[in-house]
Each structure stands twice: as C-alpha cells, then as structure tokens.
C-alpha cells in the first residue's frame, strides 16, 4: 500500500512537472519558430543587409573633392570619410550600422542553416541552403572588402581578416577572432562553391530581390576577381561564372541606356527606371536605409565633399574616353548642382514615421550586381588570366561602350585603338595641385601580380575607366583603388592636399568603436 502510494506520488509529480513544462512552453508573443520549409524560406528575406557602405567608400574614393568651406558636410560620417578618419558616430551610414546590418543578415542565414541541419538537410531545402550560403558569403565579402585590406596572395595570411561567423550567436558576449585575410576569403570561397549549385530561382517570390542564379554567379565572378591567386587560376573562374550570367552574346542582357533614359526628364523617373526589376541588367536589387541619396543627389545639402563638376568632366561620367565626346547617355543625364553632378541612379525614398514633422527613414535602392559590371569583371579577367585573351577583353569593352552610348554614336574599337588611347594619356600626379592635372589614368600598383605587358596594363586602364563610370555613386571605385594600389589625393580647402599612399593602412576602414571596445582587434593606424 505504502509503496503504491509512493509510486503514485512520484507519478503524479512527474506528470505535474511535465505538464508544467508544456504549460510554460507557450510562446509569450507572436514570435515564431523555424519549423517549416516556408518559414526558412521567409527568414532568408532578412538575409540581405539593410545598410550600405556607399557613403563611406564613395567619400573615401577619388570620385569626390572638396568644394570649399562655403559648403558644409551633411553629417559627420561624410566629413570623416573624406579625411579617411576613424568614424565614431553611429548614424545610418556609419561603420557601426553597416557592421550590425551585415552580421544581422549573416545571422539570418546562419539560423536558416541551423534549422535546415536540424531538419536533417532534406532535399526540398537545398535551394534555401544555397541561398543562405550565398547570403552568408556575401555579408562576409562586404565586411572583408570594407574593413580589411585588398587581397594579396603574398600577404593575405598575415593581414587581419574579419570574424567569419558560421553559427548563430547564443551568448551575450562571445569572443570572436578576426583570423587572417586568407582564412576569411577561403571561408567565403567555400560557402560560394557550396551554395552555387544549390541555387534554384523557383523558391523566390520576388527573384530579383534574392540571390537568383544569375546574381549568385555574378557574385561568384566578382569575388574571384578580387580573390587573386598566385597562379591566376581565379581569372578562369571569373570567366566561367560570368559566362553563366552573360552567355555568349550579352548585348541583349545589358542596360539599354538610350532607350531607358534617352527621353526621361525627371530624376524620379530616371531613378525608378534604373532600379526596375524589369531591366535585364539588374541582377540583384537591395534596398538599404541610407542618407546617401541626399548626400549625392540633386539637393542643396552635403555639398562640401562631392562629385564636383571638375571631377565629372575630367575623371568620371563626362571624362574624355575612346568614344565620341559626350556620346555616353550618362554624360547627358547629369543633374545639377555643380558641386555634385549626380546621375540619379538612386533617388531618396522616404518612409514616414511622423509626417507632420517629416520624420522617418530615407531609403536608397542599390543594385549590387548588374550584367554591365559582370561584363567588366569578365573583361578584366580575360586581360589578366595567365595567358591573356585580349581579343575577348576588347570585345567585352565594346559591348559596354555600345550599350552605354547614344544610338549609333560609336564604332567598334580595336585593341590597338584602345591601347593607344590609354598609352597617350598622361598619368595623374599625386598629389593633384591643379584641376588641369586631373585625368582618368592613374599609376597602378596591382596587389598580387604585375603587368606582363603594356598592352595588358592599358587594357586594364580602360576597364578601370569603364568600371569607374559604371559604378559611379555606388562606392565601388574604392575597391578598385584598393585592388590596384592606386594612390591619389584629396584636396582640402585652405590646406595642402592629403595623399592616400598605396601602403596606407587607412585603406581598411576602421572597425566600429564599440566593437573595438568590446575587445576585437582594431585595424592598425
């Protein structure tokens, strides 16, 4: 009897405790758990960063200059970036916001990957796995290009990388190691290689806002272009991946500048057309929170450091090129003011939280991957691979010029014409002391290789010129400056120009201050 009582007591207690446990498992609010294919697919919507590097890197690059003390910078970030100073503010466009946004996107990917693994890596989640791997790789790639130096196979195992986070964070303050740049790029590469074959466009509701197959290959192409190998084998991969995006005849896939923008007269219309998912050139569309559209756009703010007319005319969108003067559509689609000379590829889009006071968030829609840019990656790879293929490089250059020009404005250019044009250009001195010294040709000190011939060097000069125009206002010029060790100066009103030498450690933007104070190794200064 007594024993039975005891058993009953124990049984009752166990039941009580287990029912307690069920009772307390009730979710406290409308949160959800990752337990279905749909939910994992949905989580990957947030695996794309919502902040960008544009303001930081464009302001650090040679695409901008000081318009003088008559004007003021829009914010501290703009001011600090121009001076390559450490940025301690935490605004929308600060390193801190960028760091948070990228690791947040990575965290979404990691949680999706963890859920997929817990579900036993089923076949019907392979496409999601592919997307998650690509997103994780992309997040780290952006971090590495912004916060680390450019990749040089000779030194990459000595340079600082960034923490490669491949597991969801579960503790309050885990310790991360930056590792080496070689380790970081190797991890990115591994994720890309694992993810690429799994990508399947059928899981996306809005494919252009996700790593669809073409966007994934475009990313792989750019990554390998940056991931210079001592044996130059990376360029073969660039060509291989770019071909997946562009096919044999890319002309139908490039942005049709004349028909898209030739007749438009308002910035809003240009901006809306540029980001249209209907354009075959747009491979991946990524909206971000950013004040960049104010800073560079046709508004009377932030004019202090900007894409002034001098630069526009001599170095970027209106610079002298192979083409007939001002025959590129972009050179005729520039808006005032003169201190900024914007092409409105990104227009400010406002999300109000308080209409009366005009408070809310400013968005910009960025296009991280376009066929035009992938085409230039391929051209560069053709020219740089161990046995250069200049003919194909020249062909890609011509594809670009044709699609960007007004109708029938330009002939097909030959290799000789291209090489001659860039050979004849003077090299821009460092520092620049007068506007007349400005130009498109700057001394190149490529990281990881040396030019094997003047032809190769001048083809690359051409590709870099086209890339500069292609990626104007997108902050990507900064990465080319880093890859090719380009030295340049920033003029300062009332003071001598400041020079960014090829070995300047400030080419790696300083980590957010809070991250450093939490114990992560800072970039050397």
């Amino acid at each position: 009897m007594k024993i039975i009582n005891k058993i009953n007591t124990v049984l009752a207690f166990t039941m009580l405790m287990s029912s307690c446990s069920d009772f307390l498992d009730t979710l406290p609010d409308n949160r959800t758990e990752l337990n279905s294919v749909e939910k994992i697919t949905s989580l990957l919507v947030s695996a794309y960063p919502t902040k960008g590097y544009v303001l930081l890197t464009e302001m650090a690059s040679d695409n901008v200059m000081d318009n003088g003390t008559l004007y003021s910078p829009y914010n501290q970030e703009q001011d600090d970036s121009y001076h390559w100073a450490d940025i301690k503010t935490v605004g929308t466009d600060s390193p801190q916001s960028l760091w948070d946004a990228l690791y947040t996107a990575i965290a979404s990917a990691n949680h999706a990957l963890e859920a997929i693994e817990l579900m036993g890596n089923p076949k019907n989640l392979e496409a999601q796995k592919g997307e998650a791997l690509l997103c994780r790789a992309y997040g780290h790639f952006v971090l590495a290009t912004v916060f680390c130096e450019a990749y040089d196979p000779a030194t990459a195992d000595k340079k600082l990388g960034i923490p490669y986070v491949s597991k969801p964070e579960k503790e309050v303050k885990p310790v991360y190691n930056r590792g080496t740049l070689a380790e970081t790029y190797a991890s990115i590469n591994a994720d890309i290689e694992a993810g690429l074959p799994l990508i399947d466009d059928n899981i996306y509701r809005v494919p252009k806002y996700h790593f669809n197959r073409k966007a994934a290959y475009a990313f792989a192409a750019r990554f390998n272009l940056f991931y210079v190998q001592a044996d130059k084998s990376n360029y073969e991969k660039v060509i291989q991946y770019a071909n997946m995006v562009l096919g044999s005849n890319p002309s139908k896939l490039l942005r049709a500048w004349e028909s898209d923008f030739g007749s438009l007269s308002s910035t809003t219309d240009v901006g809306n057309t540029y980001i249209s998912p209907k354009s075959p050139a747009n491979l991946l569309i990524m909206p971000i929170y950013s004040t960049w559209t104010y800073v560079y756009g046709p508004y009377s703010v932030g004019q202090r450091y900007n894409h002034a007319k001098v630069i526009c005319d001599t170095e970027t969108t209106r610079s002298k090129g192979l083409w007939k003067s001002n025959s590129l559509v972009i050179s005729n689609t520039i808006w005032n003011p003169q201190e900024k000379m914007p092409f409105p590829k990104m227009i400010s889009m406002f999300e109000y939280t308080d209409k009366v006071n005009g408070i809310g968030y400013v968005h910009a829609v960025t296009i991280p991957f376009t066929t035009d840019e992938t085409l230039l990656c391929r051209a560069e790879a053709y020219a740089l691979k161990s046995t250069p293929d200049f003919a194909n490089a020249v062909q890609d250059i011509n594809y670009w010029i044709q699609s960007h020009s007004e109708a029938n404005a330009n002939p097909i250019f030959t290799q000789e014409q291209i090489v001659k044009f860039y050979t004849d250009l003077p090299i821009v001195p460092v520092p620049v002391n007068a506007p007349t010294e400005r130009g498109v040709k700057k001394a190149l000190n490529p990281l990881g290789f040396t030019f094997t011939s003047p032809i190769q060097e001048n083809i690359i000069q051409c590709v870099l010129h086209l890339r500069r125009i292609e990626t104007i206002h997108e902050g990507m010029r900064w990465f080319d400056i880093k890859r090719y060790g380009i030295e340049f100066s920033h003029n300062i009103d009332g003071a001598a120009p400041v020079v960014l030498s090829k070995n300047d450690p400030r080419r790696a933007i300083q980590l957010p201050q809070d991250v450093i104070s939490a114990g992560l190794e800072a970039n050397p200064r």
Binding site: C20, V172, K173, V175, N272, Y352
Partner: protein, 1109 residues
C-alpha cells in the same frame, strides 16, 4: 467560531434548565454594535463567574432569568467585538460593543495567508479603506499618496484611468517598470496592457487603461496592506521585486445587517491664468510685432504656412474678395492696425473656453448581512463625471458581490464577483514620437485642452478658424469632430474553498477568472482639421508642401493628390485580456505546551495564465455626415503599402506561470520568531529555454517581541510596545517586457520595398538568443522596529533597508558577430538604501475633543553601480532622465549655460570644452563631461503630515503631502523661430533686446530672420537652452492635499428618520502648494504636461453624504 456557537447554545440550554429550577431574578437588555448602531444577533451574554447566560435574539435583546443575587457583572461577547463587562442593574441594560479593531490590526494579510502580527517578520504597512479614502477620487490608487512610508505616488496625469507612478522603496530596475504588484482578494491584478513606467507620463491614449484597479469602487475596500521588504513579498516571488499592494474588499459579517449609501458631489475649479505666467494678449502682440520687425510674420511666409494664427488670418482676410462686400480686410495700414489692436485686447481665456466647472457625482450603495451560516456583502456604484475639460466625460458602473457560506462546520466557501464598466470620452490623440534629431517629443494633431490652453496664444479668437496643417483649425470645432470613446469592461469571478481537515490542518483552493475588454474608438470626422489636412491644397505651393498629400512614384509626372477625398477616419483599438489563476495551499498551525512553541506552515502551488491581445484598425474614408458610409480611395492603401504602414493589426501576448510555495514560521512564546519562505517559480516570459525560466526566491527573517518579555513589565506604561525584526531575502522580476530572448526571437515583417509590386513578407530575427538570460534579482536586508509609548498613545515604526539589485537588464557592447553590437543583457547592478518612519500620536484624547497626528517620512536613494554607458547627450538632458553608472536610476543632466553673448544668444560649453552658441552635438556618446549633473527625477524624500481633530460630532482632517529631492525640466518653450500661434511665458518680457542686456538677463533674444540665416543650426542653441542649467527647477513641494470637515448627525436626531447613520463631509482636495520652487511658475511638479490625454489633478471640492440604514 462554530465551536463557540455550540458552546453558546449549550449555555442557553443550561440557562433554560436553570429557569426551571431556581427562583428567578430577571435581567434584560439589548446589545448594539457601536460601529453601525445596529442590534447584534447572537451575542453571548453571561453572568460573570457562572455558567448562566444566553444569546441575543433577532432584535439584539436578551433576557436572563434566575440570576443569582450575588452576581454583579454581565460578560457580553461577540466575534470581532471587544468583550465587555457591564454591571447588572435593574431595567433594560444597553450594551454597546466596540469593534475589536486592535484584534483586526493584529493580523497581516499577505493575500495568501493571514498572519498574527506578532509572528510577522516583514516590513509592511496596513491602511484601512475608510482612512485612506479620498472623496472625489474615484481611482483608489491615487489615495495612497503619502499614506504609507516608503510608498511614493506621483500623479503624472490626473485623467481618470491613468495610473499614477507608484514606487515602493524606489526603483528596482533600470529599464524595467518598477511597478508594484496589485493583489486584490488574493488574486494578482494584471494590467490590460503593459505600460512602462516612463510611458505613464506619455499622454498616449493607452495610458487611459494603465490602471489595473480603476474598476474598483473605493467604498468597497476594507484595507490595503503594502508589503515592502523581501520578507513580506517573497511569497509572490519573481514578480514582487517592486513591492506588493494587497487590497482586501469588504465582506459581510455575521450578525450585522446594514445598508449604506455614499453620495459624492465634486466640483473642480478651472485653472486660472493667474496661476501661470503666460503673457496676456497685449504683451503677446508686443512680441509678435517685434518678430515682424525681425523679418518674420510677413505675408509670403505666413500666408502659406502650415500653422498660423492672428497674422495668418489677417493675410487671408486681405486676400479674400467678395464682389458685393469688397475685401474682407482692406490692405491699408489703418485697417491692419485696427485688426491687430482687436487681437491685442482679446485676452482669450482658454481655460474658461475649454474647461467646465461641472459637478461630478459618485453614488455607491451596499448591503451587507450575515448569519453564522452565511454572509454577504454586495454593492453597486455609479460615477458620472461630465468632464473637467471638454470631451472628457466618464461614467463608471461597478457591481460587487462577496458571499461566504459555511457549508459544513469545517468547510467554507467564498464567492466573489466584480464587474465594472466604464465609458469615457477623450480628445482625439495620436501617439507621441521622439524626434531624435532635435530631441523634441512631438505629437501630430494634438488637441489636449490643457496643453492647448497653456501653449496657445491668447490673441486668438476662440470662435474663429485659423490654420493648422494647411487646413482650417478651431479648437472647439476640432474637439467636437475629433474625439475618442472608450468603453472598458472588467469582470472578475472568484471562488475559494477552505476545508479544515483538522483544527490544525487546512486545505484551501482558490480559482479566479478575469476578463477585461477595452474598445477605444477614435472618430476623426469629416470636418475635423485632421481630415481637412489630407485635402488641403489651395494652391500649388501648399500642394507641394503639404506632407499629407500623395504623389504616386510609379507614374511619371504626377501631381500630389489627396488620398482622403471625402470623409474622415474611424480608428479602433481593442485591448482584451483573459486570465485565470488557480491556487491550492495547505496550512498547518500548531502550538505546543500552552503556546510556548508556535508553528505555522503553508505550502502550495499556484498556476496563472494570462492572454492579452490588441487588435487595431484604421478605417479610412468614413463619412460621418453621410450616415457612416465608408468611401475609401485605393490610393490610400497604395501609399500605405509603399510607406510600410498597416491598416490593421493583431498583437497577442501570453503569459504562463507556475510556482511552488513554502513558508514556515516558528515562534517561541510569541517572543522570538523565525521565518523562512521559498518560492520556486517558472514563467514563459523569458522564452522557451528551460534554463532561464525557473527561479527560486527565498527569505529568512526573525523578530523579537520585547514587550512579551518579563522584564518589559517594569517599563510599562511608558513603554507599551517594542518589537525588532530583521530579514534578508532574494526576490526577482523579469525585467523589461521586451527582453525575453532566452531563445532566438523570430518575427514576421514586411521589408521596405520601393513599390508594392515587389513587396513580400518575411521573417526576421527580432532578438538574438541570450542563453544567459535570467531574472533581475534583488538582495535586501531590512531592519525594523515598532515602538509604542504611553499605552500606545505614541507609536513609532521605523525601518532601515539596504538593497543590492543585480543581474539587472542593461546595455552591453559586443563584437557584434550576431548582428547586434549593442545588446540588452543581465549586466547591470545597482544599490539602494533608505529609511522609513511612521509616527502616530494621539495628542489629545478626551471625551469630546480628540486630536491625533500622523507623520510619515521616507527616504530612498539609489545608485547604478555597474552599467555600460551607451547613452547620447540627448538622452541625458531630456525630461525623464537616464541611467548612468555612479548616478541614480533616472538622473538628469543639463547643458552648461554660460550666459548670453552680445547678440543675446545663449552660449554653452560643448563637448570639446569650448563655449559655443550652436556647435553642439546632441548625438555625442563618448564625451559627457561637459554636462552638469542636476539630480534624480524621482523624489528621494516623500511623506505626509496628517492631523485629525474631532470635537463631538465634528471631525476636521488636515492632510499634507510632501516630496523632495528630485529635479524637473521646465517646459521647453524656447525656439529659434516662433509662429503667431505660440503663447509665451512672461519671462519673455525680460528677454535680451539690446546689447548690454546680457549682463542683466538670461532670457535669450527672439532670433530674427538674419540671425537664423547666419546660423542654420540656431535651433540647436535654443534646444540646448531648453535643456540647460537655466531651465531646471527643484521638484520639491509640500502640498495641502486634503482639508475636510465631517459632521456625524447625532443618533437622537436621525433615529426618527429610521436612520442609523448620517454624516456630511466637505472636502477640499489638492488645494494649493504650500511650498514649491518659484521657477516652476505654477507648473504642477508632479504633472507631466505631455499633451495627448494627460491632465493635472484638479483642485476640487467634494461634498459627501453617508447614510446607513
């Protein structure tokens, strides 16, 4: 009780049998209760020294025959009454029994158990309902102000339904709410929606339902018991860190039949401009004209301004032409001067326009009755408040039934049902927003009558339409066309079964179910300014400027159009809460060797489940004038989808708790007592992690009743009571509601997309997993003493405590590998200490005149001992204060004002240590050394001083409350530009006007157009001035909270009217401030003027009539 009854009956029979045998000597009489003057049924009347006696009958009468002639005294007793001995005499003996209030006092009700006060080791204060009741204050929580040491009540808003900010021994958390737990009749009262401590003063509509007990009728309350230290609260475990307020409602009593009526008529005074220093219209027009001279208020600016007043109206009149009458106002200097001088003499009294002197009424009727078998208390009340301000009426109905039935001798059942319904009107309001750039808290379309009266220029004509948001605006029209209706239903059903298995062992089960539903309907009618603003596009300039219009991004070359071509809005918010509680306890009470060893034990289990939901809906295009026909434009939805705003939403939260309780007390002869409590509690609040959800809390304590010692007898009567107690405990709370990430929190969201054609929904990580998440905890040491002198004529209670709060939620910087560089985690610590003193004296205690005083004092100080600082300058200097290591939980800092410069502009020390005008970075996070520490925003000293004088049937109560130690930010009235709508304080008269003034004044110049042009950041200078050392006041005050005069009509007068009681009371509440900082200039130091639905506690007079049948 039963046993006594049996004994009495036995006595009765013995008595009857004696009648038979002995020669009688008969004694007759009546037994009456002093409390209600009613006869007591079943009182025991016994001849002292014999077993002869009897019980009173239904009329309270008794007759005892055969009383031996030697007998001298009768012993009359009844449960809950003081036993009396009366001499036997001829004729009818009238015995008046007094309530044994001291016996009642001796019990501490923790809501879970009743403990003999001698055995209670914790710090607590008991206040009886009728003592604390403040007539004319329908929300009982406000009445606690100054009533208990250690409890501070701050009336941040006086609007009905808003909760005051109550702190028991100060703040216990940095980000958490620090709100005490309300327990009514043993059941925890949950808030319908969780409103944080700082949100209480936000003025948002949701604060109207922030008070968990606004549905409680003050007349139904028997007592409050405030549990303060960990020893008292540990039985409530992981929610009781911030103290517990236990409310016991009235019950029926055996042997008493009573009908009571209470009627209150309350009249509130309108605020008066005399009390504030706001410019009259003449002074105001003087300022406007100097603004006009400074390049402002000219035609081109004001004509198309979004907001304009007298000048805007003038330009509109000039621009209005009627073919028959000509121009509405000639554009001549003479006509304009005439128009402006009319405004100069207008002196509109907005308080008179927007406030009412109307009388609010509160009526409550209750019946209570009982026999030995069953008793009940039931009441109904009705409160009707036509509103102190326009559109602020309230009606509240409450019903309450509390019945106890003794099913068996040892089995008791108690059923309680409460219902309350409230219908309330409020001016239409939207939630406030913080503009992080300028640091201003703003609210779109605010029409709060109080803040309107305080902030609107007296030059305006109350019957005229001016311009707001590009559309016509008139406050009276707006209040009529833009208002909210609230209906709140609260129901509680509760049953408790007690089974005394043996005299020492009792089982009890309590079950309760609570329902609360609130519907908040906001009508923005067709002709409200808020609707008109959506349609205002008189000309192209206005059309391009009006932010309420919509331009389609997907159409090339489109002009802004209205998304609300007709109608207005119907917005609805529904808050619902369903919760149930189940508690089973067993208790064991025993004593050995004739009370030498006393043992109490209570063990049990409690389960609680609460589901809350909020459903909101924005109906667009409601045509109120067309018989409520919705007519919406599809563009509204297109715009909403592009702006990522929703038109309806459903939010649900669920809370589940399980806890196991054990508490035991051992006492040696009632002299030495030790107590221990353990509660093991689990909650789903922190998420699904098994590790985070369980927490044990505990307490150990002891007490020494020195007056029970033998040696104490020699000290009497000078010393009459002496008790010492000490406790040490661990209690906890879950921290702020938004920190619940023991597992990763994934929520759905709509990412922003440029057009609706590419939108999609997704899931996002709302919060990363924090596997180390745990409860916020508190160790507390409490040492207290209670002393009584001169036969308890003087009573002193004193407590000292020290608290160590740890594992508090605070911010921490991480390496950010998970995507959150800044996280909330259990990383902060704080400490606090304080003293509490209650001194009660009966100064004069004669037959006709009585005077008693109560002095209550408490002091609490806290300091954050560890917290990573991530705050920006703006956080530290704006209104409510901020947590910073080494400072109190809510510390307020100021910009260091350095006087005016020779242009009349204010100068400050900025983050670089330079003296500047506008080069100030409010977002700076590293350098804060340039800020001046002002003090805490929570008071450190609070208390009251009350005196009650009773002369015969008159009773005069003079009650003062005080609060010291905090600082207050003055209203931010300075701006770099003003409009012709702004009302300015009189300080502006002393403003800087010519060079040299900077030596004699600190009031900055009204910046003219040139100054604003030369320094585009000038608004920072004026904002910095608003947040500077020049704009701070001490929050100290002494308030004449209540003066009341009551008169009890003599029984002889009212008996012919069949009344047992009749009293009248005239009470003045909140009469005036005896002391407050002069810099406040009439601003109530307790009140936060944040607009929305906030209003100060008015000055009011209440006439109360009490009747008892």
């Amino acid at each position: 009780m039963k046993q006594k009854l049996v004994m009495l009956l036995t006595c009765l029979f013995i008595g009857i049998s004696m009648v038979m045998s002995q020669s009688p000597s008969k004694v007759t009489g009546i037994v009456i209760s002093e409390e209600d003057n009613l006869p007591i049924v079943g009182a025991s009347v016994q001849v002292k020294g014999t077993s002869i006696g009897g019980v009173t009958d239904l009329n309270g009468s008794f007759t005892i025959s055969n009383v031996p002639s030697s007998a001298k005294l009768l012993k009359v007793s009844f449960i809950g009454m003081k036993t009396q001995e009366v001499p036997i005499k001829a004729g009818k003996i009238r015995v008046v029994l007094k309530t044994d209030s001291e016996v009642l006092q001796e019990v501490v009700v923790t809501g879970m158990q009743k403990i003999d006060k001698r055995l209670f080791t914790g710090a607590s204060t008991k206040i009886t309902g009728d003592k604390v009741k403040m007539d004319g204050m329908p929300d009982v929580s406000r009445a606690l102000e100054g009533r208990a040491a250690g409890v501070s009540v701050q009336n941040v808003s006086g609007t009905f339904g808003t909760a005051p900010k109550i702190r028991v021994r100060g703040a216990t958390s940095i980000y958490g709410s620090s709100k005490p737990l309300w327990v009514v009749d043993g059941v925890i009262m949950e808030d319908v929606t969780e409103v944080g401590a700082d949100d209480l003063s936000s003025g948002d509509a949701v604060t109207l339902i922030s008070s968990a007990i606004s549905g409680l009728n003050a007349d139904d309350i028997e007592s409050f018991q405030i549990l303060k230290d960990g020893s008292a609260t540990s039985i409530y475990g992981a929610r009781a860190m911030a103290g517990v307020i236990v409310v016991t409602t009235k019950k029926g009593k055996a042997g008493s039949n009573k009908i009571s009526y209470t009627g209150e008529l309350t009249m509130r005074l309108k605020p008066n401009y005399r009390d504030f220093n706001i410019m009259n219209s003449q002074e105001q027009m003087g300022v406007y004209s100097s603004m006009a001279n400074g390049g402002y208020l000219n035609f081109s600016d004001v004509f198309r301004a979004d907001d304009s007043g007298v000048y805007g109206k003038m330009y509109h009149l000039i621009n209005t032409y009627d073919p028959n009458k000509g121009y509405a106002l000639e554009n001549t200097l003479a006509a304009r001067s005439k128009y402006l001088s009319e405004a100069e003499f207008r002196n509109t009294d907005w308080f008179d326009v927007l406030f009412n002197n109307s009388v609010s009424q509160n009526h409550a009727v209750s019946f209570s009755s009982g026999t030995e078998k069953a008793s009940y208390y039931t009441s109904l009340s009705f409160m009707n408040d036509p509103g102190w301000t326009k559109q602020s009426s309230v009606q509240r109905y409450t019903a309450n039934i509390n019945a106890t039935y003794n099913i068996l001798k040892n089995l008791t059942m108690n059923l309680i049902g409460n219902a309350s319904y409230r219908s309330q009107k409020a001016p239409g309001t939207l939630s406030s927003n913080l503009d992080v750039v300028s640091g201003e808290v703003k609210r779109d379309f605010d029409i709060n009558p109080y803040s309107y009266a305080m902030n609107t220029s007296r030059t305006l004509d109350p019957n005229e339409f001016y311009i707001r948001n590009y559309a016509p605006f008139n406050i009276l029209n707006e209040l009529d066309n833009n208002n909210m209706k609230l209906s709140v239903t609260d129901l509680k059903f509760q049953g408790e079964l007690r089974w005394k298995v043996s005299p020492k062992f009792e089982l009890a089960t309590l079950a309760a179910y609570k329902v609360s539903n609130t519907i908040q309907a906001h009508s923005i009618k067709d002709f409200s300014n808020q609707s008109w603003a959506f349609r205002a596009m008189d000309d192209a300039t206005m059309r391009d400027a009006n932010p309420w219009l919509y331009t389609d991004p997907e159409k090339v070359n489109t002009l802004p159009v209205s998304v609300l071509p007709v109608g207005g809005f119907y917005k609805e918010d529904k808050y619902g809460m369903n919760s149930w509680d189940l508690r089973s306890t067993f208790s064991y009470n025993d004593s050995f060797n004739d009370d030498t060893h006393i043992v109490n034990f209570l063990g049990g289990m409690e389960i609680n489940s609460t589901n809350r939901n909020r459903i909101w809906f924005n109906g667009v295009g409601m045509q109120y004038e067309m018989g409520m026909l919705p007519a919406f434009d599809h563009l509204y939805f297109k715009q909403a989808s592009e702006e990522k705003s929703q038109y309806y939403g459903v939010e649900e939260t669920r809370s589940r708790e399980v806890s196991f309780i054990g508490t035991g007390t051992y006492s040696y002869k009632g002299r030495y007592t030790v107590n221990g409590t353990v509660r093991y509690e689990g909650s789903n609040k922190l998420g699904k992690s098994q590790k985070a959800r369980w927490l044990p809390v505990w307490n150990v304590s002891g007490a020494w009743n020195a007056h029970e010692e033998k040696f104490f007898e020699s000290l009497r009567p000078a010393f009459s009571n002496m008790m010492f107690k000490v406790s040490y405990s661990l209690t906890a709370d879950r921290g702020p509601a938004w920190v619940s990430n023991s597992r990763v929190i994934i929520k759905s969201y709509n990412p922003w997309r440029p057009t609706s054609s590419v939108s999609e929904s997704g899931l996002i990580i709302d919060d990363l997993e924090n596997s180390e998440l745990t409860y916020e905890k508190k160790h507390e040491l409490n040492i207290g003493t209670e002393l009584g002198f001169l036969n308890n004529r003087i009573n002193v209670a004193f407590d000292w405590y020290k608290r160590n709060n740890y594992d508090l939620i605070g911010l921490i910087s991480t390496m950010g590998g998970g995507g959150q560089i800044t996280k909330y985690a259990n990383v902060a610590n704080m400490k606090s200490h304080g003293v509490e003193l209650t001194l009660s004296t009966r100064n004069i205690d004669s037959k006709d005149f009585k005077w008693s005083s109560d002095f209550i004092f408490s002091k609490t100080k806290n300091e954050i001992t560890s917290l990573e600082s991530n705050s920006r300058v703006i956080d530290l200097i704006s209104g409510v204060g901020y947590g910073l290591q080494g400072h109190p939980v809510r510390a307020l800092f100021s910009m260091d004002f350095q006087g005016l410069n020779d242009l009349g502009l204010p100068t400050f020390i900025n983050e670089e240590g330079k003296t500047v005008v506008s080069d100030i970075d409010f977002q700076e996070r590293d350098i804060k050394s340039h800020l001046k520490y002002e003090g805490p925003t929570d008071p450190t000293l609070t208390g009251s001083f009350g005196n009650i004088f009773a002369y015969k049937n008159f009773k005069l109560n003079v009650f003062m409350t005080y609060s010291f130690g905090n600082v207050i930010r003055l209203d931010p009235v300075f701006r770099s530009r003003y409009s012709d709508l702004d009302a300015m304080p009189k300080e502006f008269k002393n403003r800087w006007t010519v060079t040299g003034d900077e030596k004699i004044t600190n009031i900055p110049v009204i910046a003219d157009r040139t100054m604003n042009h030369q320094d585009s950041q000038l608004n920072r200078a004026y904002n910095a001035y608003n947040y500077s050392t020049a704009r701070i006041a001490k929050g100290d005050f002494i308030r004449m909270k209540e003066i009341s005069l009551a008169y009890d009509f003599p029984k002889s007068w009212i008996r012919p009217l069949k009344l047992n009681d009749l009293s009248l009371k005239l009470q003045a509440t909140n009469l005036f401030l005896i002391y407050s900082d002069d810099k406040l200039n009439g601003q109530d130091p307790e009140f936060f003027n944040t607009g929305g639905v906030a209003a100060p506690v008015p000055r009011q007079f209440t006439l109360t009539l009490r009747l008892g049948l």
